[in-house]
Structure formats: C-alpha cells, structure tokens
Symmetry: C2
Subunit: 709 residues, 2 copies
C-alpha cells in the first residue's frame, strides 16, 4: 500500500469509531491559550457521579491570597468540569460532601510545600503545612479530575524533591527575547508598574499548576536598569501577581552595575564601597518586594563583566552578593557557564577547571547553576563533569526549554527525554547510583539548597510557546522539577490527555510521536555525538563554518572533520576531558570500540572506514542517521494525521503545517551534513539512500540567506 | 468641589441613566482582537425592523475570492447584528427583500474601486465595477448597520481619492519591529510558507474594512533575504491571503542585493548586469505573486546603500527598478527621507535639495514617498516643502502610525489631527487652495499614481496596537487614505461607536479626549515648534543630548537653546529653509511676530523675554504649555472615567492604567524641559506653577536608565 492509501485506511478506521469525535478536547476556536488547564466537562458518567458527591461546599480557613486562589481555581475548575457552582464555607465542623482545604502545620507531608489528598469524614481533604502546598494539592486534584480518575480510594501524598523550581526568562527590557521563538516578552516594562497585564496572572497559574515556584524575569545578559528604583517598582508589580501563586521573583544582575548605575569607580567585589552599594541595593529591593527570590548572575562569560575583571574569583563575586542577602531569605544563583577564548583549550573542560577549585569557598547562600552538559544545550550532551565534583557547593541544573538548538518553534522536539537522560546519568562520585538527579536534589551530597532551572520557551504568542507541542516542554519541566522520578512517557501522557485529547488511541499516536521526537531530531541534526553545527544564527546548518572571532565560535572546532575521520578526541591522546569524570564513567566513553554510538564523536576522532558496533562504517552509520532521521519526520506526520479526528481542527492544522516545515528542514540538514562530510570522507552515499538533489554550494547559498542582516 | 467629588457626582448621573449598561459594547473577556468589526447586536427596535426587510437572501453572481469574502463578511455580520443566518442565492431575478452584490462594469462610480449602495426593486444593492469595490461597499453597509442608521433612503456612493492606500511594516525577518510597540511581527517568516497563521486573514479583513489596498511586509531598512527564492515563496503565501481581500503585497528592497545576494561585483544601477539581475528578480517574484504590488526603497539614507554609492542619482536607481517592472502592474516607491551629515546644513532642507532637481527625471512607474514633514514624524511639523514642488513626479505622503515620537504604546495620541493638519496645509503652488491633499491625490498636478502610506502600529499584541486607543489611528489612516475630506471628529465618532460604546454621552467624553490628545501631547512634549528632544531611544526626554556621531543626531542641533533664546532660525538670516516654500507660505512663517505660536521655534530663534502674541514671554509661554499639557492628562483621565459605565471593564482598565503612566511621564517631560531650559533662560518657574520636585541631575539620571543596554 502506498503511504496515501495507508493513511486513508487508518483515517477510515478512526472516523468510523463512534466515540472519537466526542473525545475531542476544546471546542472550535481553541487557540492554545488555556494550556493544560482546559477543565473540559467530565464525560464518564460513573466518574462524574463520584465527583458529584463532593460538591456541597469548598471549605477554607481564613488565610491569605494563595489559599484564596486555590479556592478560586477549584471553583472555576469544578464549574467547568461538572457544571456546578460551588460556594465557599468557612465553618465545616460536622459537614460532609465537600472539599476541604486544610492548612495544618502538622500535616503529614515530607516537605513544607508538599500536600496530602485523601477522603476524610466524607470530604475530600487537601492538607499541607503551607499555603503553597494547598495550591499544589488543589492543582493535583484538578488534574486528577481532568483525567477522569476515580476518587473512591483517593490518597495522594507528594512533596517536591527540589526546593527552587524556576524558569529563567532571557527577556530583554525592550521586549525582545534572546533565543525566544514565541513572540515578544510577556513583561511589558514600559507599561509597568501602573499597568499590570492580566496575562501575568495566567502565567503564574500555569506555573503553579506544575509546581514551579520561582521566575527570573530578565535575561542573564542583564541590563543594569533592573537595579534602578524605577525598575524595582516595576518588578514589584509583577512580583505581587506571582506571590499570589506561591512564586518568587528573581532578577538577573549586571555585575558592573555599581559602576554604570551607581557611579562608583569600580565594581571590584572586594571594594568596600561596592559591597556597600550592593547591600543597599538589596535592601532597596526588599523594601518593595519583601519575598524577593534573589539574583541570577552570568559573570565573566561571553563578554559579560565579572569579578575576574578585578583579579577576583567567581566565589569572591558570588559571596559579595550573598553578603548583601544575609538579612533576607533570598539566594544568589551563580552560573557556571564560562569558557575562555583559548585555541588550545577544550571548551568542554572550562567550567570544571574554573569552578572545581572553588568548591567550599562559596557562601552557603550561593547556588551554582550548571547547564546539563559541558557545552551549551546541544541536542545530546554527556552530563557536565561538574555534577558530583563540587560536594560542598550546591549545584543546580539548568535546562533549556526554548529550542535554541532544537529547530526554533517549527520542529517538534519533546524535551523530557533530554532532561531525564541527564538526571539519570550516573556520576559514580559516591559509587554506583550517584545520579545527577541525586546530586541536584541534594540527597547525594547533602545540599541545603536545591535548584532546577529551565530557560523559558514562553513569549506573548497566543499559545505561549509558538509550537503547540512545545507547551509539553514547559509542562514536563515543571513536573520534573517537582518530581524527577516521573517518566517522560507518564508526563507526555498526562499532558496529551489534559491538553489535546481524551481519546486513548490518539493519545498513543501522539505520545509515541513525542517520545521519539528528540532522537529523530538528533538523527538528522547531530547524530553519533556531533555538536554545534550552527554559528551565525542557531537555525540553519553551518557545519562548514570556520571563521569566528575565537576558535570555539566556529563549527569546525567541534566536529574536527578531516580526511582521516570525524569527532573530537577527548581521551588522554586528545584534550583528556574525560579525566574530569570518575573512572567508571571514563571507562564507558574512553574506548572508541565500546563507547555507545550516541556519544561516540563527543570523545573520539573516528576514521571514516572504522566499523562500528552496528556493523556499519562510520560514514555509513552517519548517512543512515541523517537519512532515517529526515524520513522519520514523515512518520511523525503520519502519527499526527492518525490522531486528527480526535483533535481540535485549529490545533491539528497548526501542528500539521509545522511538521511539513520540519520535514523540509530535516532534509536540508541531512543534505548539508552529508554533502559537507562527503568532501572529507570522499565516499558515495550508501546504497538505498537517494543522493541529495542539491549541491553543497547550493545548500550553502540557501543557508547564507539566514545570515544576511 | 474636589475632583474626587466631581467624579463621584458624574458617576452617579451616568449610572442612574438606565439605558447605559445596555449600551456597553462587547461582553466580558473583550480583548480588543475584533477591532471595529464587533458586529454587536442591533438594539434599536425600529432600525432592526428596517434591516429585517432585507435578510431573505444574499445574492452574488459567480465571481472570485474577493466577492466570496464579501458574502462571507455579510453573513457573519448579519448573523451577529440581527441573529439571522442568511443564505446565498445565485439567481435573483424578480426576487426582493435581500442584499444584492452586483459586479457591473457599468456601475455608476467614479473609480474602479468605488461602490454604490442603494435600494432597488426591494433589495439593498451594492454595485461596483470591481470585486474590490463590492468588498468596500459591503464593509460600508455593515458599518452603517453597526451604527444603527436607517436604510429607508439608503443611497451611498463612494470612491477612493487615492489609488495606493497602504501600510508600511517596519518588520524585520527575526520578528522584531523597528519602532514597534505592540509586540512582535505578525509575519512569521520561519513558519512560512507551510504554515499560514490564521491571523493574516484577520489582518487583511481589518484593512479591507477601511479601504487599505496595499501592504509592505518588511522594514525599509531591508534585508536582502527577501529577494531570495526561499523568501519569495514565503511572501507568496502571505500575498495569497491578502489577495482575497483586495490587498496587494509589496516588499522593501535592499539596494545592494545584486552584490550581497546575487554575487555581482557591483550594484551600480547603470551596470547592465545589475539591471538584468533586477529584471530577472522581478520576473521571479511575479511568477510566484502574479499581482505583486512593487518595491519600496530606502536608499542612501541613514547608512543604507543606494545609487549615490556609484555616483548615480536617486532617479537612476529608481528608474532601473522601474524598468524591471515594465511588463507588470507593479510600481517603485522611492523614499525621499534623506539627509547628509553636514554640520553646516539644515536637515530640514535636505530632501528638497536632493529631489527637486530630479523632477521630471523619474520613470512614470516611480512614486516618491515623502514624510509629511521635513524632519521625521515629530508631534508637529510644518508640511514638507517637497509637496507641490515636484509637479512632474507623483509624490505620495508617508504618515507614521506607530508612536515612535508619540510616547510609544502608553500615551494616548489620536493622530488623525496630525494627518489632517498636513493634508489641509496650503502649499500655494497653484495659488490659494493648493493643499497637500490635492498634491497627493493628484488633482492639483495630475499625478497618475497617487499614494498614501502609513507606517503600521500593528504587532502581535492581542489587541493589535498595544494601546487600545491606538486602534483608532489605524482606522483613521485607512479612512483618510480613502477619503481625506473626512474630519478627524467624524472618524473618531465612527471608531468610538464601532469599537467602544454606543452610549452617546460616553462617546462625547471619549471623542473629546481623542480630539484634544495630540495637542496635549505637543504641550508637554514639543510645544511652540520644538522638535526632536529624543536621541538614544525615542522614549525618554533628552533635550540636553549634545553628543552624536553626526551633528543632526544630537538634540541641541534642533532646539538651539542658548543664553539668548531658543529655536532654529530658518529665515534668510539663518538656514533660509523657508525659501523652499512659496511666498505666501513663507509670509506666514517668516516674521517671528506673526508666525503662529505652534510653529514659532521651527523657524525662529526667539529671545527668552520676547513677548509673544499670547501676551506672555517665550519663557512664560513655554512653561505654560509644559505645565498645562501635563495637567491636561488629568483631564483625559477624568473624561475616560466618566465613560466607564458604558465601557467593557477590561478595556476601561487597560486605558485607565495607561493614562496613569501617561500622567507620570508627562510630568517627567515637563520637568526635564523646564529644568533644562532654565539653565539658559535663568528664570524662575512662573507663578502659579509648582516648581519641579526633582533637580535636573535627578531627571537626567532617570533618563539614563533607558539608555542602558
């Protein structure tokens, strides 16, 4: 059967399934704004009957704004799920048949922010030690009901494994977003503080619903203006909205602000005037924002100023800021994303080399934020060797949700497998089972302050993320920051059910597509451990790029293609970056014959004719990935089409059109790579694969278009 | 009575008016997306009864997509206005009681795009020579009905006075908008051509509804990439949507594209290879976009390349492009916004000096697009001396809708008075009554091709324009491009009725506010003929700015404040720019004693103590404007509050919050100006005005925040 016929056949089966259309979530005009909080009416009669036993009242003791919002969310949710207006009751002694939100210092939860949900005396009781916990429990209950799960034996207890669960917005004061592909910034600085966009609240709701409790509003390449009183009051107006949903507001800071904004002669962190300036600045911020979260700092990184400008260390810089936070709850989050322009160095090793010697020298209020991998959010990276190697310094992990290296907003890449692959990596620092997750959640090395950060993929696009499926990455990040033991599949199922469709067959198609999407992207983009084929814009293929203001700002620096082979030798015969890992890890990756293929070229320069464990030569294996990767996008299109009858038409069309783009661009990537690498490998395209229809020069020309001003 | 009491009093009157709440347009959740096409149900029973006589059918002869969209719009509109589903009928002989759309080559209209609406044989008949005209007539009929006007003696005939009625989008390929304050670009280049955002259609509808028939999609500071086949097919996908609403698509071009994109050695317009390249390029575009509108060119202006790079003239450059368009309908629109970095020159004179000598040398396919004033979209400018002085060259006028110099998206400035002031200015080139409007509409000098362009104020903000009231500027531009004889007041009334409220009293408050808003802005921003107090960003006051890479990129160049006085002498004793105008115009502005105060400092350096026609000294007069301007914003707030009960709550709040910002910033502007000018005038703030609470240094510091990266 041709593909077309096959599709027709499947479509017929689907359309003939009577229950299908009724399962479609979201009525016409669905534009994605509501995210996973759609609260579509419950359709299972028996389940609805169960739920209707608990709609007599919602009870809350008289507490603060967060609790109030939990009640409101319940009212909104149940109204929509069950069609019932439920009133709030303060006194509930001896009453049953309702939902009780119980703030209780003695609630049986592991963490302050944890919640417990269970049936007690004929009521559904959500209890927590904190208002935040009540809110999280409320969202968990609503999620449960959106999925039409029974409440007969309702009993849920959950506590976050990470304390600081936060988004990083790389949003500039002019409304642009660095590496943003979903419109412009949510934060309208020219309107604040007087005008508070109602959308801020919807943002806060969405975050709280997945457990996120912090947000850094501005780009790590920070403007000093955020430290001015004018901007502090603007930030305070946003923080006020966030606070009501248990979210703390943070700011990225420009390290040289004491000079540029404060008018001091220096920003040297050991200068008493500089220290005093920051102290006063932090005090000024707390005056406006009593629950201010803290600072995020990118220093001495990619041209940003920092303590090294004055011969000081990262610890000197971070500790100076930490000192300013002593009187307050706030923390200093210091990024480890550093690498120097050194033609003989291996950028892979830079963060380790700079930070490991500083272990133990940071103030307890400092958290060092480490990107998941050693380079920069590549489609696949080995875990950063910093994890586990700074036992005295809490290390947070930084993931990137926005698809800087994952096809912007037109490629479908479900990222939970990237996050999970990193978190489940074993560092072996305390023997087997010393996963990155255990480092980050503090259980391995006893960190007091634990952090998971995600670089947001959110803009003012009506559907928040541009690509409708990219909403799942926001969702997945939030869920994993709360509980990193959840599986990618479980999260994908949840999200699909809440957001797209209740039809089980369609869910299977979509979840299957999502789970394979990352590997498919890797296949046509950076298979076998290739990295950074981008330079100018991080969009078009440029593996040939060999001109840059510094060596590590070229593409050839990373793949090292030559007539002999391909890949970066990071063994002892090369940069020896592998020495930064424990022997058990080193052993996995040290021998080119034993290195798992997905990591091969990260660590080895491999000959074109080398036979790999797959039985194919390197050249054949590369071509196989590039070709099957691009072809797998057709499979994704097919899966999506199979789900069509169960989907809102607008969402269906949106994704279907983006998949068409993805298919075209996947072929572009494939052609760019194979034609370029062929100039070294000097081999024909393996049999069974149709050679590219274009020449290398033609591909380069098509790429150059994206490099024009 | 205190202001608060007064408000309370008025609120009482308003609330007690029983019909008020029912007049409120737009139900809750109104977010401005629908613009002036809300089609709220008709509430006047007698009017409704009239309309219901014509809902038996809609008739269309079998025509193209534009006609089809007119029918659809009628169906949608009448469904919403009257609650009736009206079916389409092809054969209507002897039928009555319906609406007939009649495409008729002999229709009695002045222009091809004109329409006629009248009662004939018991039907409402909309007739036109063109499908475009039918669409415009349909929107006119729907507007009539939205305003609940009688159709008893329905008879309307209207034809556009201008042929090319177009928006210019200064949108960059990365989605940013130069001088855009309403989010990011509507055009999603990374998604095109596969994905066609449904919003493109709503954009086209809105434009067609006010008569706009052209759109330039990309910034005049153009990227060469738009000339690549990759981007041409993207543009074609947008053009396809536009075409269905009678809108032609245009592109801004990068003059050096033959070199940068085409790989030629030169972009010299007299080089045969360059001419061939453009010919081929234009042919390539027409292959994809058969109704392509043409090119817009910014050349040898602010660093953009152009024909002068090769010792050629603007005419050489424009004519080369025009040659490429010979086989097609398309035109070349060449901007006259040029000025050289010359410390002794007056920028005011630059465009005239460069372009007047070229009159008669342009190909008939070229239209020269002239900004309304000689400098750059200042809050008030005299008309450009080019108007009337190039009788052999069609001159189009370029207005700016986006509020680059009008307070971004936070100040309410209704711009129709700016456009009208320009259009109604008398150039006297053919004697009294030789208005700019008559130059531009071709009636004075017989231009074949007439053009009115507006730099769009549209982005992906949900309400399109950021400030809800800025929608009125888009609306007003469209209406004036169709018929420049409409008054600002008439347009404001229409827009307010269609968009905000049907309540007459509230309309009066709002229209009053709108009509005064521009003068209020001028008062606190650039009174008495001041200009360009901005430099770095065009947001914060910087009248003291005296450092720039060229003299005309400083603020002091424009206002020339010194110990003697203030203003730019453009009489014979100064730059003599006035000599570019006809004697009758010169006479109006030549004598400082007779120059109307709004233009005084445009043409004269006036002593601080000089008594003006107002009876006040210059210093007193300046202060009076700055203070009363800032205070008038309070009056605007009051007017808006009076209308509150008749407004949707979300829209009310949005504007109310923006007015608060405007008030704060108006005081900021006032303080910046008076404190700065005081350093020259050495005079106290006149009695009755409270001196600024801040020092000049403090104001400068608050401004510097906006100049930080």
């Amino acid at each position: 059967m041709t593909r077309k016929l096959l599709l027709l056949y499947f479509s017929f089966i689907l359309i003939s399934s009577a229950s299908f259309a009724a399962d479609t979530l979201s009525s016409d005009g669905e534009d994605g704004y509501k995210l996973w909080l759609k609260y579509e009416p419950v359709t299972e009669p028996s389940i609805k009957a169960e739920y209707l036993k608990y709609v007599a009242f919602i009870s809350e003791s008289d507490h603060g704004e967060i609790m109030h919002n939990a009640v409101q969310e319940l009212q909104t949710g149940l109204k929509s799920l069950l069609g019932k207006n439920i009133s709030v009751s303060k006194a509930v002694e001896n009453k049953s048949g309702g939902i009780v939100l119980r703030l209780d210092p003695k609630a049986d939860t592991k963490q302050q922010e944890g919640y417990r949900i269970q049936l007690t005396a004929g009521n559904i009781v959500v209890s927590s030690k904190s208002e935040n916990g009540i809110l999280y429990g409320t969202f968990a209950l609503l999620r449960h009901m959106q999925m039409q799960l029974s409440v007969k034996n309702l009993k849920m207890e959950s506590s976050p494994k990470i304390r600081y669960r936060m988004l990083n917005h790389w949003d500039n004061p002019d409304g642009t977003i660095e590496r943003g592909y979903a419109g412009s910034s949510l934060w309208k600085w020219y309107e604040l503080p007087e005008r508070v966009d109602p959308r801020y609240q919807d943002y806060a709701r969405a975050n709280a619903s997945v457990g996120i409790n912090g947000t850094v509003l501005n780009n790590v390449n920070a403007s000093a203006r955020f430290m001015s009183q004018e901007y502090i009051v603007k930030v305070a107006a946003v923080a006020k909205v966030m606070r009501r949903y248990g979210i703390k507001t943070y700011l990225s800071v420009y390290f040289a602000a004491p000079k540029t904004l404060g008018g001091l002669q220096t920003s040297d962190p050991l200068d008493p005037k500089v220290r005093a300036w920051w102290k006063e600045k932090v005090a000024q911020i707390y005056k406006e924002i009593p629950d201010f979260g803290g600072f995020l700092v990118k220093a001495n990184s990619e041209g940003e100023p920092g303590p090294q400008d004055y011969g000081r260390t990262h610890a000197d810089g971070a500790n100076m800021l930490a000192e300013a936070f002593q009187p307050y709850e706030g923390v200093v989050i210091w990024r480890a994303f550093v690498y120097k322009a050194d033609p003989n160095a291996d950028r892979f090793k830079a963060a380790y080399e700079e930070f490991v010697p500083l272990d133990g020298k940071f103030d307890p209020k400092v958290i060092v934020q480490v990107k998941n991998g050693p380079i920069d959010f590549q489609p696949r990276e080995p875990f950063s060797p910093l994890f586990g190697n700074m036992p005295k310094t809490p290390l947070g992990v930084e993931f990137q949700l926005t698809q800087e290296y994952l096809g912007f907003a037109t490629h479908a890449v479900y990222e939970a497998p990237i996050f999970k692959e990193n978190l489940d990596s074993d560092t072996y620092v305390n023997g087997k089972g010393s996963t990155v997750a255990k480092v980050v959640d503090g259980s391995l090395q006893g960190y007091m302050r634990t952090l998971m950060a995600g670089v947001a993929n959110i803009g003012n696009a009506r559907n928040w993320t541009g690509h409708p499926l990219a909403q799942a990455n926001w969702y997945a990040f939030g869920r994993l920051s709360w509980d990193h033991t959840l599986s990618s599949e479980q999260i994908a199922k949840e999200w699909t059910e809440l957001t797209l469709t209740r039809n089980k067959k369609a869910q299977e198609n979509i979840v299957g597509l999502m789970l394979r999407s990352r590997e498919i992207y890797v296949d046509y983009n950076t298979p076998l451990g290739l990295s950074r084929p981008w330079m100018g814009v991080h969009f078009a293929p440029e593996p040939w790029q060999n001109k840059g203001s510094r060596p590590d700002w070229t593409a050839v620096y990373y793949h090292r293609a030559d007539s002999a082979g391909l890949g970066f030798d990071r063994t002892a015969s090369g940069s020896n970056a592998l020495a930064q890992y424990r022997p058990e890890v080193r052993q996995q990756w040290n021998d080119p014959d034993k290195t798992p293929l997905p990591y091969l070229l990260w660590f080895h320069h491999v000959g074109w004719n080398k036979k790999l464990s797959s039985g194919r030569t390197l050249w054949e294996e590369l071509c196989t990935h590039f070709y099957t990767g691009a072809d797998s996008v057709v499979w994704m299109q097919q899966q999506w089409d199979l789900a069509k009858p169960a989907l809102d038409s607008q969402v269906y069309t949106d994704v279907a059109e983006r998949l068409k783009i993805q298919r075209r661009e996947a072929v572009w990537w494939r052609d760019a790579w194979v034609l370029y690498l062929q100039t070294f490998a000097k081999k024909p395209i393996p049999k069974g694969f149709e050679p590219p229809k274009q020449t290398l020069e033609e591909v380069k020309k098509s790429v150059n278009i994206y490099l024009m001003k």
